[in-house]
């Protein structure tokens, strides 16, 4: 069984109120080291068998078609999980 991990983040220019809320909460909890935060999504796609380059290409296609909205999000990483 193989796994492909896909990471999706909001585009840098998009306002991320969730990230701001997280940053505010971190500061209130005493984690004052972190200037800001942005929140994205991680998907794990499970396959039978090994993760091949073809499979990674299909995962990227799935990421750009469904898992992300290219208007507001970037697919920052598609990789085989260890």
């Amino acid at each position: 069984m193989g796994r492909v991990v896909v990471d999706v983040m909001p585009k840098p220019e998009i306002l991320d109120p969730q990230g701001s809320a997280v940053a505010g909460a971190l500061a209130r909890l005493g984690f004052t080291e972190f200037a800001s935060a942005r929140q994205g999504k991680r998907f794990e796609l499970v396959v039978e068998g090994a993760v091949t380059d073809d499979l990674l290409a299909r995962a990227r296609e799935a990421a750009e078609t469904l898992l992300s909205n290219p208007v507001i999000e970037d697919v920052v990483q598609v990789r085989a999980a260890d």
Binding site: L15, Q18, L66, L67, V71, I72
Partner: protein, 219 residues
């Protein structure tokens, strides 16, 4: 009007159509058939629980495989709230809807100005007429990148703007947009919740439904 799993305001949209004098036809998301309707409304609600992104899963429904070419061919389509989100995800409208700037779900009457009265959905309004509709959303902040926003504005594709304050951080106070051809309109606040004095803040939303009926009869 289409019912998706999780749609909320399909029945209210049907009621608005009937009050305006039209025949409301209920379409089912899994049925790849528009049943020869003259116009389609994608209603408000939480299709697929807003999972992944609002409207992201509904956008691939069987009914959309019929609706997308019909819309490109000129069929009048109105997406209200979640319906607007679905139309953006389906790329029938530009831009996207994101989380409200203050993170709060907003449920209140809002004042909007109708800036394009040439669409089949807005023909019964006067240019720049201000009406009261109901905003009821957590992800209603419209975004578009600067080139897209510039195109929208110069082409007159902004159909409605919030007046008297921006409730959710939508760029340019945009409450609704249309496609280039003008037959597809997305609107964040709910016109179907402002169609009689008993159940809403006035009847300002009735024009969306009377306009399309008149457009279909006259056209």
């Amino acid at each position: 009007m289409v019912t998706f799993p999780g749609s909320l305001d399909d029945a209210d949209a049907a009621r608005a159509v009937r009050i305006a004098g039209g025949e409301a036809v209920r379409l089912w998301h899994a049925d790849a058939d528009l049943h020869e309707v003259d116009a389609v409304i994608l209603p408000g609600g939480f299709s697929y629980g807003d999972y992944l992104r609002c409207g992201a899963i509904a956008r691939f429904s069987p009914v959309l495989t019929e609706l997308i070419p019909a819309a490109r061919d000129g069929l009048p389509v109105l997406g209200i709230c979640n319906g607007f989100q679905i139309l953006c995800e389906a790329h029938l409208l530009p831009g996207a809807l994101t989380r409200n700037a203050g993170l709060r779900f907003i449920d209140r009457a809002v004042r909007v100005r109708i800036e394009d009265t040439k669409t089949p959905w807005t023909g019964d309004y006067a240019p720049d007429q201000e009406i009261t509709l109901v905003l009821k959303s957590g992800e209603g902040a419209y975004v578009a990148d600067p080139p897209a926003l510039s195109r929208l504005t110069s082409a007159g594709q902004v159909v409605a703007r919030y007046v008297g304050g921006n409730p959710n951080g939508s760029v340019g106070d945009i409450a609704g947009v249309r496609n280039e051809a003008g037959n597809v309109v997305g609107l964040m606040p709910h016109p179907e919740h402002a169609i009689d004095a008993l159940t809403g803040p006035g009847t300002g939303g009735l024009g969306f439904f009377s306009s399309v009926l008149r457009a279909m009869v006259d056209g």
